[in-house]
């Protein structure tokens, strides 16, 4: 095994390259929020947070927080020029009504028909769903960013999800630590893979069949200081 996985920052960088100028984007809480750091210069992207803000920017300096100005992760944010506020049903109209260009989410599992499991791993403890089940419906593209495998080496891209589902047939593209994969009516279609991993090795780490439709690009990502 000579291949090396992308870091989380590198996955976030790769996601950011696909977000076009003028896009309206919701970045899920946690890991997906890193995508904003790698927004390519010259593109204007408007970020949506489901608690009612379009056009927010970076976190304020410590001590400068205004706790009426937070994101869905309850972290303090700042506004960009042209920002707007709205109530919760307008916010989710932007989601379910097909107005967002892209939602980026984390995942425990993605199945080959596009089912997503990302809200709980079992029936223990206190269940909490937040906006996850809404965000998977309506955005023009629903992308997942994730490690390709679990900490103990099991595939996160699977034939069928075994964890509780967040949504059915909702994921359109998966950015992993090893590959970029579209989810189509034919199943997983490999678009890019790390040049240091072979097709066979990648297939072994993937729970569903990896289809090839046209050229498979190299997933080349610059080194990023963590």
């Amino acid at each position: 095994m000579s291949w090396k996985k992308l870091s989380n920052s590198q996955i976030a960088w790769r996601v950011a390259q696909d977000i076009q100028d003028g896009a309206y984007v919701n970045l899920g809480i946690g890991f997906p929020e890193m995508v904003a750091k790698f927004q390519p210069a010259g593109r204007h992207i408007t970020y949506h947070t489901e608690n009612g803000v379009l056009g927010f920017g970076r976190a304020p300096e410590p001590g400068e927080e205004d706790w009426d100005l937070i994101n869905a992760g309850k972290k303090a944010i700042t506004l960009e020029p042209g920002a707007s506020f709205f109530h919760h049903t307008d916010s989710f109209a932007m989601v379910r009504g097909g107005h967002l260009d892209l939602a980026v989410l984390g995942a425990y599992q993605v199945s080959q028909n596009g089912d997503l499991a990302n809200w709980r791993v079992g029936s223990k403890g206190v269940p909490a769903v937040g906006g996850a089940m809404d965000l998977v419906h309506g955005a023009k593209r629903v992308a997942v960013m994730t490690d390709h495998i679990t900490k103990d080496g099991k595939p996160k891209l699977v034939e069928r999800c075994t964890f509780p589902l967040t949504g059915v047939k909702c994921v359109t593209r998966v950015y992993t630590s090893l590959a970029v994969i579209d989810v189509t009516s034919a199943g997983f279609v490999l678009r890019e893979k790390k040049p240091d991993i072979s097709m066979d090795e990648l297939q072994d780490l993937t729970g569903g069949k990896l289809h090839v439709d046209g050229a498979v690009g190299d997933l080349d990502v610059p080194r990023i200081e963590e």
Binding site: V53, D68, H87, V129, G130, G131, H137
Partner: protein
Amino acid sequence: MDKTLSSLEDAVASISDGDVVMIGGFGGSGAPIEMIHALIDRFEATGSPKDLTVINNNAGNGKIGIAAMIDKGMVAKMVCSFPRSSDPRAFTDRYLAGEIDLELVPQGTLAERIRAGGSGIPAFFTPSSYGTELAEGKQIQEFDGKPYVMERWLKADVALVKGHLGDKFGNLTYRMAARNFNPLMCMAADRTISQVSQIVPLGGIEPEAVVTPGIFVDSVVEVPNPRQEEEMVRNGEAYA
């Protein structure tokens, strides 16, 4: 017509045992913390109101606000999307002990159910939660080839909300992202009581700038310089 009240005590006086109470806010932003604490004061003094069903996006944080209501034993059931926070102990302990009920609702569905309740729409169909455990037992219908889940409206006996400016007719504005669920809850309750940072004369809110028209609001009480839940939790404050 004058909807202003002179005290928080008056504002929460009419809430009864067993009421369904909507409480505005998303985390700490837009949470009417002073009004919640006035309700706790009343419970401490009189033993009422108790057995409340509380509708909020979350289920309290730390030892203040809704978390303090739960700690005091005032809450029988939470209807929320995300009963977690930086310090969710109050809800978690009672939930795992089987002492509080939970109706978990996806956040967008929660908002839409409240809007429906305030709009005279008893049910609606949404794609959210289709195919998941949260849709179990619910009616499914296809529209244009896609499956949707039927959800019912949500209404309340009382809504406790937090505005920024208010006037004696009950017109309200909100401050930044503190708007969130507040305008929806104003519509969905038999009685809506808003704390505001400042009561202004009629006309002090430009008609174009009114977010919640006063028809949806029954009472307004001024709480200048309201506290922020987030800061109180970070300070480790407790409302005991």
